[in-house]
């Protein structure tokens, strides 16, 4: 147990890790653990408050809110994690190459372009671009791209500058290290040093950043779905459940808004605590990485 606590950077990190594991398990096991079909309409059970049959109550179509919250974890996590993977796919090589070619035009071109992209406000652009592309399925040649994939890729692209800069800074430091000079003297080609020696040493801050960025992504997904441009109904997502609950706040049906928001909050707390914990373990010098979103 003590070793487990230490691996997560302390008890709060462990709590965060446990929350993350539980939420991921809930999403994966949704078909087995959800008590009802999340999309099953029951017109005789509309807007019933929480009771023994429907623990979280039912919505305006009589759908079971607990089941929808369980299934709604899937798009939240898929977008949160997927967008970070997209940003790593592009941001990692860009940051590495820029950092390893310090002083050259390659570094200048990559970093100045990324600086310009970093000047794009994420949320507004995500909303506007999805609005322009439309929430339906877009055809890109032979590929049919659904709205959830669109949001994932879009957020991933907008994350690239932040991630690339972290790798860039880490690579700058590593490129000055004696072991890189030694490898060069051995006649090892630059790209090989970069990927087999430098890359592994830059991963710590990337892992920390990625974990915290997943938390940001989950909130962004909820916000984009909240204005109707994310996951489309009838499919359940935490954000679109909150959007649908808006009309019922005024008539006092609190359970429609309380439970989806509670799950977003707990999940995001989980990723934030876990990210902070991992940072304490992997990267103890950097205490101030949290940036506004």
């Amino acid at each position: 147990m003590n070793r487990l606590v230490r691996a997560f950077g302390g008890p709060t990190g462990l709590i965060g890790g446990a929350i993350v594991v539980l939420v991921i398990a809930m999403a994966l096991l949704a078909p087995a653990i959800s008590p009802f079909d999340p999309d099953a309409v029951a017109l005789d059970r509309q807007l019933t408050p929480p009771d023994l049959l429907h623990w979280f109550g039912t919505d305006q179509s009589g759908r079971d809110i607990l089941s929808r919250v369980i299934w709604g974890a899937r798009p939240s996590l898929e977008i949160g994690i997927g967008s970070v993977l997209v940003s790593i796919l592009f941001g990692l090589p860009l940051g590495l190459v820029a950092g390893f070619n310090q002083g050259s035009w390659v570094e200048q071109v990559i970093m100045r372009t990324l600086d310009a992209v970093a000047a794009i406000p994420t949320l507004i652009w995500a909303i506007a671009v999805v609005g322009i592309l439309g929430v339906g399925v877009s055809q890109l040649g032979p590929l049919a791209i659904g709205n959830q994939t669109k949001v994932t890729i879009l957020l991933g692209l907008l994350y690239i500058p932040g991630l690339a800069r972290i790798i860039y800074v880490a690579t700058l430091v590593e490129a000055q290290a004696d072991y890189v000079a030694a490898r060069r003297l051995q006649g090892v080609p630059g790209w090989k040093i970069l990927f087999s020696d430098v890359l592994p040493n830059t991963l710590s801050p990337v892992i920390v950043h990625a974990t915290l960025q997943i938390a940001v992504g989950i909130i962004l997904e909820a916000a984009i779905s909240f204005v109707g441009l994310g996951v489309q109904p009838p499919a359940a997502s935490w954000g679109n459940m909150l959007a649908a609950s808006r009309n019922f706040v005024f008539s006092g049906e609190w359970w429609l808004s309380v439970f989806p928001g509670l799950f977003i909050s707990i999940t995001v707390i989980g990723f934030n605590l876990m990210g902070d914990g991992i940072r304490d373990v992997l990267d103890p010098r950097r205490k101030l990485t949290m940036a506004p979103a």
Partner: protein, 316 residues
Amino acid sequence: MLGFFLHRLGFSILAVLMISLILFVLTAAIPESPARIVLGADAPEVQVQQFEHEHGLDRPLLVRYGEWVDRLALHGDFGTSVVTGLGMNEQIAETLPVTLELVIVAFVFAVVLSIALGTASAVFENSWIDHASRIFTVIGVSVPGFWTALILILFFAIRIPIFPPGGITPVSEGLGPHIMSLVLPAFCLGIFYTAVLSRMTRSSLIEVLGQDYIRTARATGLPRSLVLRYALKNAMVPVVTVTSMSFGYMFGWALIIETVFNIAGMSGSLLNAISQRDYATVRAVVFVFTLIFLLANLAADLLNAWLNPRLRTVQA
């Protein structure tokens, strides 16, 4: 400092040009032609071509971009929407002040409260105040503001009707009601940044308080409050940058908060334009937001360089 300023300004102008080009392509080349939106999907091709010709939509994209930049840069004019026939400047002039007021109130709230919380937390490190404020920061950065908004409306506008459940009461109906209608939206918008900034203030101040010169100052018998004032001044250097950037970020979240509270700000302009497929207005609104965001970042850089003279030479 002047060299640094010009360097940053030059970069910002380049960034505006590059981003506005991307924005123009996204809003002018990708979606369907405004002619099809105005005339209907079944309109005959001849009619569509005539409409496009009349409105200059059949010219090359770069020419239209150049014209857009030219009109905007020289006259500050976004033009008239082909789809709605409304002037975009009027629309922005009507909704931007609403959003601006909300963001400024939320920003002041966040800055004042975060300095107080962060300082108390650092001075009384590991006391109950510190623990409580650290729990608050974790919750504050994790709970989405628009959910807090729904919950607060439920309790403090519906169950116990202290605040209006939505909209901003105009000042003409009295300053009191106007302020009351701003409380919940500004709180929900500002709380995330209160958490982020108080956390930064705390860790930065703890670091400064541990420095030798502070210990020396204390040893010479300077009053505690004076020492704290010196320490706080130095501790705020890294915080100021993020604070300034937060101002830009807040506009994005203001969109969502405005939606929850039915506030007739820029969010309405953007979301209406999206649902009416009025992409010229989408472009105008997104451009305004991006410009504010860029200016906030520029201010952050300049403040940082002003407070931290070493950076001027390193970066310039």
